[in-house]
Structure formats: structure tokens, C-alpha cells
């Protein structure tokens, strides 16, 4: 990396729990102001990594800095410079919206002169204006999530860590949430976000794919598609998906079911289409439609996992 200061810069970060290696020698370089997505299935090591970066969990091995502070020795300094939102949107559900905001405002030592302004901002961001008397327990998931986000950034931290911020939230709220994240990154905040929703990857400037504790790919969404998808993806529509998949697998063609469709990964799509029609037709499976599609990051991820 150049002289540009990195928001997150870690090397060989490792965490073991007994014999289990949760995170295995990962390197991360997150630039200031970017949205960095950390993608992977449940249990891949996303939360463990984010907790080590936020000073909540001691790494077993590795070194590095967050916001310029050493992750091993200066975790308390790091905590002053980050916002962190854990998976469970850990608000106090027996307190009202306003009491939650006031609490975190006090904890983050927001200066008295900024307090009212920040509270008004958090309320409007969460869409909870004039609802500050509501007890947090009664809020729908999307509001809870935005209130938790508001509480985590009352002190306007330069870096924000979000652990699965959209899990358990309806699609509309998810979209609104990503819009917020985008706006924050536009105003210079670095955002490190984990998710297991592959369709959210395109919101990120750069991505790392983590699988079984190791990073198996990194880059912008487009780079990932180009670099790791030398092969092409064919979308197949058929009434007998399961049988079709079996036929393809037997003939050495990788395939995966996506909803009501089958995605097959092939070399040289042009020649593959007639071959697949022939193979399936030979087994008496009707193909309603088959065409080449732009690979989604989910395709990329599935391919990467199968080849790793």
C-alpha cells in the first residue's frame, strides 16, 4: 500500500478456540472512506474477525492497527474511534428510544453542546421523530436496527463496524439501511460490514470472501466476477430440476439450484448450450429455457468454495 493511511491494517490475524481455528491468518487492508464487505456463510469467522478488530476479543496470533492504533496493546484507544454494532442490535429493550440515545451519548462522552443535535439526528435517521417515548422492545426490527446504528455513531466515529446489520430485517428496511451506509461513506466514514446475504455484496466498494476462517478471494465486486469467473454461467429452466442436476453432475458439469432455476458453470458457453440440451433431452428432461447470464457474486462464491 502507498503512503495512504489505512483504516484497518492487519496481518496474520488468527484466533483459535481450543483446537478449532475460527480465523486463520487473515490479512486485511481497508482504505479510509470505503465500504468494505466481509462476506461468508454462518460460522465462517466473520464475527470473530470483527470482534478482534474492535478490541473485544484477543487475537491468538497476528498484528495490526485499526484507525492507527495497535489492536493488541491499544484496544481502549480503538474503542474511542470506532462505532460497533453487534449482531443482536444490543439496545436496552426496557428503556425508551430517547433513554437509549441518552445512555450511549453519555457513554461516548458526546459534548454537551452537540448532544441535542446528535439526538435529533439519530431520531430522524432512525425515522423515530416524535416516537422517543416508545419502549425499544416494542419497535419493529427495522427501526431497532436503525436506532442501534444511531446509538453506535452518536460520537461520529471515523470507522464503523457492523456485524450482520441486516439479518432479520425486512427487504425494504435492508435497502433503506444500505442507503444510509452509502451516505455515511460519502461523508468520509469507513465502513466494515459483515453479511451472509450475497445480494448485498454489490453495495460494497471492496469485498473479502471468508470461508472456514480464511479469505479465499478479495477485490471489487466486478474484479471478483471477472477474475474468478473465467467460466460462464448458464441459467436453465426445467420442470425436473433435481433430475437435470443429476444428469449434469454425472457428465462433469458443475451446477447448483437457485430458487426455481438451475445454474450450470461451464467453459465456452456457446458450445455448451446445445450439448446440455442434448444431454438432458437424451434423458427425457424438457428444457424450457437455457441462456447465458451475468454471474452473480453468489455464483462466484459457490464456485470458489467448490474449488477451494
Amino acid at each position: 500500500m502507498s503512503a495512504e493511511k489505512l483504516a484497518v491494517d492487519v496481518e496474520g490475524l488468527t484466533r483459535t478456540f481450543g483446537d478449532f481455528v475460527a480465523v486463520d491468518h487473515i490479512n486485511l487492508a481497508v482504505r479510509q472512506g470505503e465500504i468494505y464487505g466481509f462476506l461468508g456463510p454462518n460460522g465462517a469467522g466473520k464475527s470473530t474477525t470483527i470482534r478482534m478488530l474492535c478490541g473485544l476479543l484477543m487475537p491468538s496470533r497476528g498484528k495490526g492497527t485499526v484507525s492507527g492504533f495497535d489492536i493488541i496493546t491499544m484496544s481502549e484507544e480503538i474503542k474511542k474511534n470506532i462505532g460497533y454494532m453487534s449482531q443482536k442490535f444490543s439496545l436496552y429493550d426496557d428503556l425508551t428510544v430517547e433513554e437509549n440515545i441518552d445512555f450511549f451519548s453519555g457513554i461516548y462522552n458526546v459534548p454537551a453542546s452537540r448532544k441535542r443535535e446528535r439526538k435529533a439526528w439519530a431520531l430522524s435517521m432512525a425515522g423515530l421523530e416524535n416516537k422517543q417515548e416508545l419502549v425499544s422492545r416494542t419497535l419493529p426490527g427495522g427501526y431497532k436496527q436503525r436506532l442501534a446504528l444511531g446509538c453506535a455513531i452518536l460520537h461520529e466515529p471515523p470507522i464503523l463496524f457492523l456485524d450482520e446489520p441486516t439479518s432479520g430485517v425486512d427487504p425494504l428496511s435492508r435497502r433503506a439501511f444500505w442507503k444510509l451506509i452509502y451516505e455515511m461513506s460519502q461523508s468520509g466514514t469507513t465502513i466494515f460490514v459483515t453479511t451472509h446475504y450475497m445480494d448485498e455484496a454489490d453495495y460494497c466498494d471492496r469485498l473479502a470472501l471468508i470461508y472456514r476462517g480464511a479469505i479465499i478471494a478479495e477485490g471489487t465486486p466486478n474484479e471478483l466476477r471477472r477474475k474468478y469467473m473465467a467460466r460462464e454461467v448458464l441459467e436453465i429452466e426445467s420442470d425436473r430440476l433435481g433430475d437435470a442436476m443429476g444428469v449434469l453432475e454425472r457428465n462433469g458439469i458443475e451446477s447448483a439450484i437457485f430458487g426455481s432455476l438451475l445454474h450450470a458453470t461451464v467453459e465456452g458457453g456457446g458450445q455448451a448450450i446445445p450439448r446440455i440440451r442434448e444431454l438432458l433431452g437424451g434423458e427425457g428432461i424438457a428444457v424450457n429455457r437455457i441462456e447465458r447470464i451475468e454471474p452473480s457474486l453468489e455464483d462466484v462464491f459457490v464456485t470458489l468454495i467448490e474449488t477451494s
Binding site: E76, K79, K88, S90, E99, G106, N109
Partner: protein, 369 residues
């Protein structure tokens, strides 16, 4: 340490207590209820001894003796037996603890100037009560003998007892102050034993330790509202002791306030340590009750005199903080002790408070796992 952060924690904790009926009940109702129940239940006074009388003499003299017995508050004649067999039955059934048999030649012997016999049977299964009952009967017959003989006996030695501090020798006066110390020890530890574990269980701790809050801010902030509750409980207990149980309070309220504050600080810190170590509300509350109640009840000298204990137990009582508070409260209530007499016990409480608070701070790690 930033006061603003401490205040934020304290305010949040207070709001959570106020909204939680269970916390409120534990904070205010439990100490009052415990003091009420134990205050009435525990009494070492021997009053109204159930007595069965079998009068074979049936004379004016024997009736006078029974009348004396009935008039005294120590005896309660439940039955005039028709046969010696009935005395046995009553004692066997536990319907009487004392049987008195006045022989047929009782008045004749007295009139003839001979020593009259009086047979007393006592239920010795409760040896303490039996000893006291026999003493009462001896004293009563002595007074009776002196009166009917009409001769003022001049004893060789006349004992003139004066009982200090608790002139009526009411056991309640001695039990209630110690009871307050025992109850406050349990309540203090129980109150805070939940507060750290609760945050771990609800998942809010993860958010909290990702903030710049420091350990002393967190612990002091969490203790603050419980300190307030503990102080109110102290006030309630003292009020109940004096108003309800009629125990005199002779010492300085100011001194009581200061020493109670030190004691509460230690007790609350002790609960925090348990909460930090267990991270579970259920385990934490159980441990804190057992770890405070048993030693405070048995080894504090509240009921069982420390000087009568075996040597190893006596040494063990040194590390029971309730022991010092029991001594202090008894001193303040009954003797009106001043700081000069309380300083040693108070110093031990201060050491306890400093040690537990330090350990609580050391034990709390702002990390997961």
C-alpha cells in the same frame, strides 16, 4: 474516570430497576419482610411456659401457690390434672412443658414448720428452656416461702444485680440489631449479583465493552443506584427496629450512616464479583445468597456467641464481614457506642470494602471470553 459516563450508567441502571417489579420487590420488600418475619420468629425469651398442675393438697396455701404461678408472666397453667398420669400424658404430647405436683401433706408440713415437698417435672428435650424453667420455679417458690412464713429472711450475701445495656434482658433487643446486619449483607450482595450477569445474558454487554467506558466507571455506575436502595433499606430497618420492635437506639445516627455506607460498599462489591465471575443471573443469585447468608447467620455472632465457638471457627469468623457489622450495630443500638469503641470493627469493614472493590475491578475484563 469520566463522571459523565458514570452518570449515564447509573441513570440507565436506575431506570431498569424502576421498570422491573422484581428488582423493586427484591430491593425494598425483601429486607422489610425478612426483618418482620425473623424479628418476630426468633426469640430466646422463655415466657408463658405451659404448665400442668396436680394439686393433691387442695388447701388455701396450695391454691395460693398456683395463683402465684398463674399471675407470673413466665407460666401459663393449661390444666389442673386429676391424676399424676395426666401430667405424664401432657408432657408426652408436648401440651405442657412443666408439671407441678403438690403433695397432700403440703400445707400440713408448712404449718408444722417442716420443709414442704414440691415435685416438678420438666421437659428437658430443650435443655435451655428447661434450665430456665427450673430457675423460675425455684425463684417463685422462694418468694412464696418468704411471704407465707412472715419472717423476713436475711441472707448472708445479698446479690444486687444491675443489668446494663439491655436492662429488661429482652432477647429481641439483642437479636434485631444483629438481624439487620445479616439481612443487609444478603440484600447488598444479592442486589448487585444480577447486574453484570444480566448484561451478558441479554447480549448488551458486547455493545457496552465496545465503547470507551472504563471498568471503574462501569462498576461504580452500576453500584450507585443499589447503594441508594441499600441506604433506604438501612433507614427502613432502623425505623422498624425502633418503632415496631421497640429496640432502643442509643448511638449516633451520623456514625451509623458512615459505617453503613462502608459496609454497603463492600457488600455491593462482593455481589459484583460474583456476577462478573458467573456471568449467569441464576447461578450468581444462588451463590450470593449462600455465600452471604450462611456465614452471616452462623459465624457473625448475631445469635451464636463467637467466644463459645471452637477455635478454628472463631478464626473463620474473622473473615466474615457481617461479624463486624453485627458488633457495630449492637454497640450503636444498645450501648450508644462512640467511634472510639467502634473503630477496630469499622476498620475491618473498610478493608473488606477496599479489597472487594479492587478484586471486582481486576476480575472484570472488557473482552469476550
Amino acid at each position: 474516570m469520566k463522571f459523565i459516563r458514570l452518570k449515564a450508567i447509573a441513570k440507565k441502571e436506575l431506570l431498569q430497576i424502576i421498570r422491573d417489579p422484581l428488582s423493586l420487590a427484591m430491593g425494598f420488600l425483601m429486607p422489610v419482610l425478612l426483618l418482620f418475619i425473623f424479628g418476630y420468629a426468633i426469640s430466646l425469651d422463655v415466657d408463658d411456659l405451659t404448665t400442668i398442675v396436680h394439686d393433691l393438697d387442695r388447701s388455701s396455701l396450695s391454691r395460693e401457690l398456683v395463683a402465684d404461678l398463674t399471675a407470673s408472666r413466665y407460666f401459663k397453667v393449661v390444666r389442673s390434672a386429676g391424676s399424676p398420669r395426666e401430667i405424664e400424658e401432657y408432657l408426652d404430647a408436648g401440651r405442657a412443658r412443666l408439671g407441678l405436683m403438690i403433695p397432700g401433706d403440703f400445707s400440713r408440713d408448712i404449718r408444722a414448720g417442716r420443709a414442704a415437698q414440691l415435685q416438678v417435672v420438666v421437659d428437658g428435650s430443650d435443655s435451655n428452656t428447661a434450665t430456665i424453667a427450673l430457675g423460675y420455679i425455684a425463684a417463685l417458690s422462694e418468694i412464696y416461702a418468704r411471704r407465707i412464713s412472715g419472717v423476713p429472711l436475711v441472707p448472708l450475701i445479698e446479690v444486687r444485680p444491675r443489668v446494663w445495656y439491655n436492662p429488661e434482658l429482652k432477647s429481641r433487643n439483642f437479636i434485631v440489631p444483629g438481624l439487620i446486619a445479616v439481612i443487609m449483607m444478603v440484600i447488598a450482595a444479592l442486589l448487585t449479583s444480577l447486574c453484570i450477569a444480566r448484561e451478558w445474558e441479554r447480549g448488551t454487554m458486547e455493545q457496552l465493552i465496545a465503547t470507551p467506558v472504563t471498568t471503574p466507571e462501569l462498576i461504580l455506575g452500576k453500584m450507585a443506584p443499589y447503594f441508594l436502595i441499600g441506604f433506604i433499606d438501612m433507614g427502613l430497618s432502623i425505623t422498624m427496629a425502633t418503632m415496631l420492635f421497640g429496640v432502643p437506639f442509643k448511638g449516633s445516627l451520623f456514625l451509623l450512616g458512615i459505617i453503613s455506607a462502608v459496609f454497603l460498599f463492600g457488600g455491593l462489591s462482593f455481589g459484583i464479583i460474583i456476577s462478573i465471575v458467573t456471568k449467569s443471573q441464576l447461578v450468581s443469585s444462588q451463590i450470593s445468597v449462600v455465600a452471604t447468608y450462611l456465614p452471616a447467620f452462623l459465624l457473625s455472632g448475631f445469635m451464636f456467641s463467637i467466644s463459645n465457638m471452637a477455635r478454628p471457627l472463631q478464626i473463620m469468623t474473622r473473615i466474615v464481614p457481617a461479624r463486624y457489622f453485627v458488633a457495630i450495630l449492637k454497640g450503636l443500638f444498645l450501648k450508644g457506642s462512640t467511634m472510639r469503641f467502634l473503630i477496630v470493627d469499622a476498620t475491618f469493614l473498610l478493608i473488606f470494602a477496599i479489597v472487594t472493590f479492587t478484586v471486582a475491578n481486576r476480575k472484570f475484563v472488557k473482552r469476550i471470553g
